[in-house]
């Protein structure tokens, strides 16, 4: 049933059950909020009405109503901008600020903080309330995420994200009253929990309470060390989001400018993680065919996403033989830079520093996994920075990003196909794998390379793809809660697939925890996904096994895909971990 009401004297009709706040948005009236977040496509709905800044005047009501949790009613007369409502909002923000560090200038979230922006919008010029301030310890235990609970405003978005979307459940509000704080179980350091480091908590944190571990200092140090040969590689999802940090429209493709900026920053070689993605497809498609022909474990699950890998290690330790053993693309590129490239050009691999620019915070943790390296002193990847960190480095260096002339990646680890580009969004890895597996299995040319059924923001996508005389059953999921439901079906013997792609972040890497903040606007993710597909269409080659540089790599160095040298350098193993 539709409900008719007026908001600020504008008559409108909205569906029953809608909140006043959402109703107001339909007529372009923004009621500020710091806690409410309803992202339908991600199945995220945080509506605990804790921040109290969305208060509005409702005619006939004794007190102000929290618009996020008050459903519309027939004939309701709402005013969002009365002096009473605005003053109440300002008071709420002042109260929040009274127990918040006043260190905005030195905060990593400076100029990207919802609380700061709201205080500015409301013209808060002094904080009338003085009193005790919380003093919780900062958790720097993990290699990916920093938790600073003193900056937390108890909006619970992180908790809702971790519980409802990712079903990991690392956080809980602990204690009560003034002492309440978001903690891990038994206040364990984050590093000792089941946290997957997907970073979706920090992607929705309205303040600087949750941040990525900043590793730009390490990059600068390497760049300024004359004895280091510093190689950078960039993930597909970075080039469709980096521009947002420079005021460009979401979905602007900035590949060439990004490469130019990286050269100006002083990197010795600018390579492309997409080369690693093409190699991943060579390995993964071969592994899949190997499993099919040798009665191996099916379905095969993708293993590109480090948060997903850590998720199944904790949550499904009995399924460790299900995922592909392929390393993730940036690790593949890293190990190839320090072996193939180093050998070809006579560089001591110990002197090479590989820096990955990723849309992801879990990659920081992944790079430090001890098994991902040729030895302790030669890790595949040395340093990982996020899209946000790169954007800061470019600004810091005073580079006018938008005016840069486009440049190309360096040869040969900078060559890539359209199949590698689509790795950046949900459905892309399996689509890329199919483009190759189809041709290898059927011996025919795949004319239509787009697999539309595997694209889009639906949480679980399924398709049956006929290849030769066999039907391939494919599933694609993004968001760890969706992954869990598919894995539970596999465990129960209720689901039968040949291959499943899983990405931890809603939307895939384009929605990664290290991307520019979307501030609740899911359309930004869609624009980035569209840009990924546009970049794919613009590539002359769109199948990984047609990448000439990749073919040369196999001919000159690796030998057979999934062969002995490939397994030694490009594959990995997984570890059982406890669930807590």
């Amino acid at each position: 049933m539709d409900i008719q009401l007026t908001i600020n004297d504008i008559a409108l009709t909205v569906p029953e059950g809608m909140s006043i706040l959402d109703a107001a948005r339909t007529i372009n009236i923004d009621i500020p909020t710091l806690c409410y977040l309803n992202l339908h496509e991600m199945k995220l709905n945080n509506h605990i009405a804790s921040c109290r800044v969305c208060l509005v005047d409702v005619e006939g009501r004794r007190n102000l109503a929290p618009s996020c949790s008050t459903p519309v009613q027939h004939g309701m007369v709402v005013k969002t901008d009365t002096p009473l409502a605005i003053q109440a909002r300002r008071t709420m923000v002042e109260l929040l600020l009274s127990d918040h560090p006043k260190s905005c200038l030195t905060c990593a979230k400076n100029l990207d903080c919802d609380l700061q922006a709201l205080a500015a919008d409301l013209g808060v010029r002094n904080i009338s309330y003085e009193g005790e301030e919380c003093e919780f310890k900062i958790d720097t235990s993990s290699l990916a995420i920093i938790r600073e609970p003193n900056k937390c405003i108890l909006c619970r978005r992180c908790e809702t994200m971790c519980d409802d979307v990712q079903t990991v459940g690392v956080y809980s509000a602990v204690g009560r009253g003034f002492e309440t704080v978001i903690k891990t179980a038994f206040d364990l350091p984050l590093h000792e929990t089941s946290c997957t480091f997907c970073g979706q908590c920090l992607a929705v944190c309205p303040t600087g309470a949750l941040m990525e571990l900043d590793q730009t200092d390490k990059v600068r140090k390497a760049l300024n060390d004359p004895n280091r040969f510093v190689i950078v590689e960039t993930a597909p999802a970075v080039r469709v989001a980096l521009g947002e940090g420079f005021g460009l429209e979401p979905g602007t493709i900035v590949t060439g400018k990004m490469v130019a900026a990286l050269r100006r920053l002083g990197f010795d070689r600018v390579f492309d993680t997409e080369f690693g993605a093409d190699v991943t497809i060579m390995e993964e498609a071969t592994e899949l065919i190997h499993r099919l022909e040798h009665g191996g474990r099916l379905p095969m699950l993708t293993s590109c996403c480090p948060a997903w890998v850590k998720f199944f290690e904790h949550q499904f330790p009995d399924l460790l033989d299900v995922p592909s053993t392929c390393k993730s693309p940036h690790e593949m590129l890293g190990v190839l830079a320090k072996s193939y490239y180093a050998e070809t050009y006579g560089i001591d691999p110990k002197k090479i520093t590989v820096v990955s620019v990723m849309p992801c915070v879990a990659k920081k943790y992944e790079a430090a996994r001890p098994e991902l390296g040729q030895s302790k002193v030669i890790p595949d990847v040395d340093i990982v920075i996020t899209t946000r960190e790169l954007s800061r480095m470019i600004r810091e260096a005073g580079i006018h990003f938008n005016h840069l002339k486009e440049e190309d990646f360096d040869h040969p680890l900078g060559e890539s196909t359209g199949a590698a580009v689509v790795f950046g969004t949900t459905g892309g890895v399996i689509e890329a794998a199919l483009r190759t597996a189809y041709e290898w299995l059927s011996g025919q040319t795949l004319e239509k390379v787009e697999f539309e059924a595997l694209r889009g923001m639906d949480g679980i996508k399924e398709a049956v793809i006929p290849i030769g005389d066999r039907d391939f059953r494919i599933a694609v999921t993004h968001g760890l809660g969706n992954a869990r439901s598919i894995l539970e079906k596999i465990q129960a013997g209720e689901a039968h697939y040949d291959a499943i792609e899983i990405m931890a972040c809603p939307g895939g890497c384009i929605g990664g925890g290290g991307q520019p903040y979307h501030h609740g606007n899911v359309d930004i993710l869609k624009a980035r996904a569209n840009a990924i597909y546009q970049e794919d269409r613009s590539k002359p080659l769109r199948k990984s096994h047609e990448n000439p540089a990749v073919l040369a790599l196999y001919k000159d160095f690796i030998g057979e895909p999934y062969g002995e040298k490939a397994r030694q350098l490009l594959h990995t193993s997984f570890t059982k971990r406890r669930k807590i």
Binding site: S172, K183, F186, K579
Partner: protein, 164 residues
């Protein structure tokens, strides 16, 4: 896999598991289960909370959050006897703060702690509905009212000390 240190704790875990198994609604009964567990073990240490979380298939952080929220639940071992001081309004205006200091002095601990001989835990609570007897202290559920003098405190505590 046993999470237990000795046979009696082992028995407690089995008894707790049987209790949980007997419940039709399990996750929904978290608070009841925590009550039962605390009755059985005396307190709710981390590994017991983790055991309950795994048994109910809910995040350990959630169990920890609930335990931390309710002052009834305790994560530290308790003394043989639990003494409580009422800090409700009526008791407070009639000298509960002074009473608290005196008890702390005689026990040699602060509120929230446990005596060295494990005889007493000392806690405070808010109003037990005996305002007419303010200020009030309670030991193992028994109420002692109008306690003002150090000697009166001594007499109450003496009842719980082993004789001889």
């Amino acid at each position: 896999m046993s999470m237990c240190d000795n046979p009696s704790t082992d028995d407690h875990y089995h008894q707790l598991d049987r209790y949980i198994d007997s419940l039709h609604y399990k996750k929904e009964n978290l608070i009841g289960i925590l009550h039962y567990a605390q009755e059985l073990f005396g307190f709710l240490p981390d590994k017991l909370q983790l055991h309950i979380a795994q048994k109910l298939d809910i995040p350990a952080a959630k169990v920890y959050g609930v335990v931390s929220f309710y002052s009834f639940f305790t994560m530290k071992p308790r003394g043989k006897h639990t003494a409580n001081i009422c800090m409700g309004t009526a008791c407070y205006v009639r000298g509960a703060e002074k009473l608290k200091e005196e008890i702390e002095k005689q026990m040699g601990i602060k509120t929230g702690q446990i005596t060295e001989d494990n005889l007493f835990s000392l806690d405070s609570l808010r109003c037990i509905g005996a305002c007419g007897l303010a200020p009030v202290m309670m030991v193992d559920g028994k109420v002692y009212g109008r306690i003002h003098e150090p000697e009166e405190v001594r007499q109450v505590l003496e009842k719980y000390r082993p004789q001889g």
